[in-house]
Amino acid sequence: MSPRSSYVTGSVQFKGAAISAARLLWQSVGPLFTRGLPVTVEITVLLLVLGLVLGTVLALVQVYGRRPFRYVCVVYEQVFRGIPPLVTILIFWNGLSQSFHVFLPGVVAAALALGLRSAAYQSQIFRGAIQAVPPGQMMAARALGMGKLQAIRHVILPQAFRLAIPPWSNEYSGVVKDTAFACVIGGLLELTRLGMTSLTRLSMTHGIGSQLILPVLLIVGLFYLALTYGGNALLALLERRLRIPGFEMKGKVER
């Protein structure tokens, strides 16, 4: 079906116009599923993995490291928690390419900018979780003859990661929404940018548009809502699967 045919035949009557508007809307929603959603998910997963690895290292250094290294971590956290996500994305996208001629793929720039930021937040989560593991656990592991790293790997982290799941799912909810800032990256058609381009296309090719902006944006918003709730449900499932008697976890409202 060509979009123009409906424009020609159905525009006379109000009902016909409504139907064609609905069709156009559907045409802009389809790509959100097939193209926008995978890109947003890709950015989210990449940034979370980067944040997880780096955040764990930062947390471990802060709890077990020597003073100068601890200090470096504190400064890192402070810096990345003090800059808007939009600005870090602009730095890693425009800043690197224009000033240093480093041309990162859009997905990488977004994941790097948001992931380094998320590491600062995740580090706080993991530090809290590590410190919530009673000191006797480390002592008992060392008393068995384990090295410090062994004890961290086999005794401390398995417990700390379990304790960290609820605050970590808050962090997940936060970064999913932060990926929307990546719409400033040209050519990176994640959900938000795709929504905006389809609006432009609608108004250019069909002369309709301004009334459709709201429904399209709401639909894009629903995608994020679904991602947030879906991800949280998965994490809650993970938490249940990993649950061990005696690990009581308190959820907390965090942004």
Binding site: V133, P134, G136, Q137, M139, A140, A141, R142, A143, L144, G145, M146, G147, Q150, H154, V155, P158, Q159, R162, I244, P245, G246, F247
Partner: protein, 261 residues
């Protein structure tokens, strides 16, 4: 002095010389020395806050002493070049508050050290761990997590965890102090069996019945030093030290002597 009769110098498993330890302003240990022979059980008693637990922790370097030396057989474990993890693997440690690994089942608590420290295969470790759990009477609790066990059961698992490592000696840090009175007996029973079976151990405890029953020697500590050391008979019947007598009378009043048989 049962142990004394069958010892030569080579029978000394642990030698502690002039341990000093200070936490901030408090000097907790002010020069403690002792020797432990193979198969010997020494019970350390004394008022709280006199450095008994610190002494145990300084022996396996969980607390690093400020001064003094510790030998495990002929290896000086306070020496900077000694592999402390290797030494600790040979010294069992049982904590007052158990410190079972909260994320592992009773069985995995016992196998973890075997697999990660002694590099045993998982299969071998499981067989060994089941034996040790059976030895402390908890074969059927292998799949339980610490939170599902009573205090007495937790402490018995932690003894099994120490035993599985085939230690040359075990240090017990007030193993029954955190337990409800009705659960103390089951733990002491395991310890009595161990002592009678020839395990070498140092036990910090207030359980006088236990001390009287199995200690080869009792050490009385106060204020960071050893005030007196002797056989149970010597210390219980005719304390040379006035303080020891006072303490023993008081502790007997408080705790009675019913436990430990």
């Amino acid at each position: 002095m049962a142990a004394g009769t069958r010892t030569g110098p080579s029978d000394v498993i642990l030698r502690v010389e002039g341990l000093h330890k200070r936490y901030g302003k408090d000097e907790v240990l002010k020069g403690v020395s002792l020797e432990l022979r193979r198969g010997e059980t020494k019970v350390v008693i004394g008022p709280s806050g006199t450095g008994k637990s610190t002494l145990l922790r300084c022996i396996n370097q969980l607390s690093v002493p400020d001064k003094g030396r510790v030998w495990l057989e002929d290896v000086e474990i306070t020496h900077a070049r000694t592999n402390i993890n290797h030494a600790r693997a040979q010294i069992g440690f049982v904590f007052q508050d158990f410190n079972l690994f909260a994320h592992l089942t009773a069985l995995d608590n016992v196998t973890l050290g075997l697999v990660k420290v002694k590099k045993m295969s998982k299969k071998e470790a499981v067989v060994r761990a089941r034996d040790e759990l059976a030895r402390v009477g908890l074969a059927e609790k292998a799949a339980s997590y610490p939170a599902e066990l009573s205090g007495g059961q937790k402490q018995r698992v932690s003894i099994a965890r120490a035993l599985a490592m085939d230690p040359k000696l075990i240090l017990f840090d007030e193993p029954t102090s955190a337990l409800d009175p009705e659960l103390i007996g089951e733990v002491l029973e395991v310890m009595v069996q161990l002592a009678r079976g020839g395990m070498t151990m140092i036990v910090v405890s207030h359980e006088m019945g236990f001390a009287r029953a199995v200690a080869d020697r009792i050490i009385f500590m106060e204020g960071g030093v050893i005030l007196e050391e002797g056989t149970p008979a010597e210390l219980f019947t005719c304390p040379r030290c006035e303080r020891t007598g006072q303490f023993l009378r008081k502790i007997t009043e408080l705790y009675g002597e019913t436990n430990g048989r």
